[in-house]
Symmetry: C2
Subunit: 410 residues, 2 copies
């Protein structure tokens, strides 16, 4: 038998999470998380589920009936959308602007889809002309892209892509986990057929719930693959015409049945995470979509100005930078990990490292959700400057915080 | 644009959840859920991940290194195990004793496995002789079973099955979501190679996290399918010999890499749910495995005695009844749903309905986790009796609560 030590009572340190996410949750989300549980078919619970659908229509800026949660991290929402839409052999076009583009490819390949990529240098975005050309040649069923790819801090413009997809009758999916609430996301206006997000970035909640929305035509494509489990079928055995979705958990036809009026049993909804998701959306809508994005823009601009004022160089094309995260080159001769750890241990501030080709070259500093606030920006800049000076980095002292303050009226 | 109403502050009613799950969480789990978030590679966070692994070794009664959480509901744990072990064409033997046996079949079929079932009448369990015979004939790679199937309230004995699997060199997987902590579960002693559970039954937490454990030989089978994503590969590109797992999210080779010392980036761990899972395990181990199971046995026996004393008939073979849930026939001439709703609205008590062949015929009453307490048993019996009398059901009045009290010394 294992030694049954039970460790001490949970007591996580207070951190200021200024990386690419996860970040600190809004205090009200913590309150929601600890609310009492109720049964999954309690009328109050199904009422909350309906509210969550309506709230996320507001977040996604859509009228889509099919707006709901997938019970897992943001990545689970991506896989649910791709495995439900794509049948083996289906063609999908994916512009790869960073790590999460690779992730979309990988998931689509595992589904058995034929993947064509448009490979963009890290730090840039994909031009619409490249999309149109590739669609003409490849004739995909689906265009799948990431909006904000935190690995490069770039924000892919979607409006023209949506128009192109409309014109060529291609389904259009976007993962907006890292960008939602920090940058504009207009599902209906931009002709998006499917969008998935997570809570742990600018929505200010914990990782573990993936809100998604599906257009009617997308839901129809998925419902042609509908299938109801043996063991819960009674009289209503429904089977679609097309190949069964190769995942049960991510079968969005069944998930729609669970969230819809028929309330067909599927998983047991993760109640505490649904409470959190509900509160994230309420906070977003109370503040207002435009105001939330504007707050992220100011915080992101202030952070970028501060870093530049320190004499540091920013990564990527500034024209397409996400509002909520900035990549900054680690100064020459400085051990990036040492600085990160010292920031964490001395100030309780976490900033991010990087993946793949940028590993060891840049830090990523986020200003997201609850932390898209002046005090977080200023404190992080002051702390980073002090640690860099202590490590004898060649930076400009005393200008960063003042530069950032310039973005706020007081 | 959608009407941006944001609804009222979350304020779920106080319910006593006496169905087949989800149930009320332990108060300490609510506290854990609302704790501050920290970064996913914060040394405190990776420390908590290591603790969770050790704590669940205690819960599963195993020495398995590979013991971790899948970020999703209990069902996600089942799919992760099956899709990671089974390649298309692999043979899996599944005894079906209820709804969740059908679920295992359905998931395995979607994975592309060849499924052979042993179909058992609802209310009974599968005898070991039937397993041995089928293994000889079918020569499966995997035997997959459910321990406690709440749809029938039966608890499948596993010890002899494990011995048979050892003898014929078959991998042995069990979903113990509904039975863990309410009934004995001895992973190593019973030669289980993989077990998955959820928090929302006798472990006393919310749905949304799926602890799993894998034996070394099972981890080896899965690791032969290992593959690392493009975009996070640096120098260490590892690829196994065998077919890639057809899900990225449920690729347990990658999930093991995330929980292991290499900390290979996969999903962003659902921190709040990890906090909850940690607290569930601490409560279990502090009380002690044998004591927790004994508490569920007393509560279940007391509930069953009370129902019988009311003159009601219980469902299924009593020899194999799960400790933590009982099926009881709805008395003739009584509308089961009306009674359930009245219990909910007048007493705030939820009991369960049923699936498939038992739909409309039995209620399922659970005594799980925080609610495996005398006061919950007695209150539920008293409430049910009153409502049944009000509806003029032919029952014996005044005996149920006293009969249940007889199981407790005071």
């Amino acid at each position: 038998m294992t030694n049954n030590t039970t460790f001490e009572t949970l007591n996580p340190p207070q951190r200021m999470l200024m990386g690419p996410g996860p970040i600190n949750a809004y205090p009200r989300v913590h309150q929601a998380l600890s609310s009492s549980l109720i049964g999954q078919y309690d009328p109050v619970m199904t009422g909350y589920m309906n509210q969550v659908q309506q709230l996320y229509r507001g977040v996604f800026q859509t009228q889509n009936q099919q707006t709901m949660l997938v019970d897992g991290t943001a990545r689970s929402g991506i896989e649910a959308v791709l495995v439900s839409i794509l049948q083996p052999g289906d063609k999908v076009l994916i512009p790869v602007i960073g790590r999460f583009g690779h992730l979309l490819c990988e998931i689509a390949q595992r589904v058995g889809a034929k993947v064509k990529t448009i490979d963009i240098e890290w730090g840039e975005v994909c031009p619409p002309e490249a999309i149109e050309k590739a669609i003409k040649e490849f004739q995909p069923k689906l265009l799948a892209t990431v909006q904000g790819d935190t690995s490069t801090t770039m924000n892919q413009p979607l409006k023209q892509m949506g128009e192109i997809c409309q014109r060529y009758d291609v389904l259009f999916y976007c993962d907006a986990t890292a960008s939602v609430a920090g940058n504009h996301l207009k599902t209906d206006e931009w002709h998006l057929d499917a969008v998935s997000v997570g809570l742990q970035k600018c929505l200010g909640g914990p990782s573990g719930s993936a809100p998604i929305t599906l257009s009617d035509r997308c839901a129809e494509v998925i419902n042609r693959r509908k299938h109801i489990e043996a063991g819960i079928r009674a009289d209503h055995h429904v089977a679609g015409d097309e190949a069964m979705i190769q995942s049960n958990y991510f079968d969005l036809a069944m998930v729609m049945g669970y969230w819809g009026p028929e309330r067909l049993n599927h998983h047991t909804e993760a109640t505490s995470m649904l409470y959190a998701a509900r509160e994230c959306a309420r906070l977003f809508l109370e503040e207002g979509a435009d105001q939330v994005v504007a707050r992220h823009k100011i915080a992101g601009d202030a952070m970028a100005s501060g870093l530049r004022a320190m004499g540091l160089e920013l990564f990527g094309n500034p024209q397409f930078k996400m509002n909520n995260v900035v990549g900054v080159y680690i100064p020459q001769g400085i051990d990036g990990e040492k600085i990160r750890l010292e920031l964490l241990h001395r100030f309780g501030i976490e900033i991010g490292t990087s993946f793949g080709p940028l590993h060891g070259k840049i830090w990523r500093i986020g200003t997201m959700g609850f932390n898209a606030r002046q005090e977080c920006v200023l404190t992080t800049l002051a702390a980073l400057e002090s640690i860099l000076i202590k490590h004898k980095a060649k930076i400009i002292a005393g200008q960063a915080v003042v530069a950032a303050m310039g973005h706020y009226s007081q």
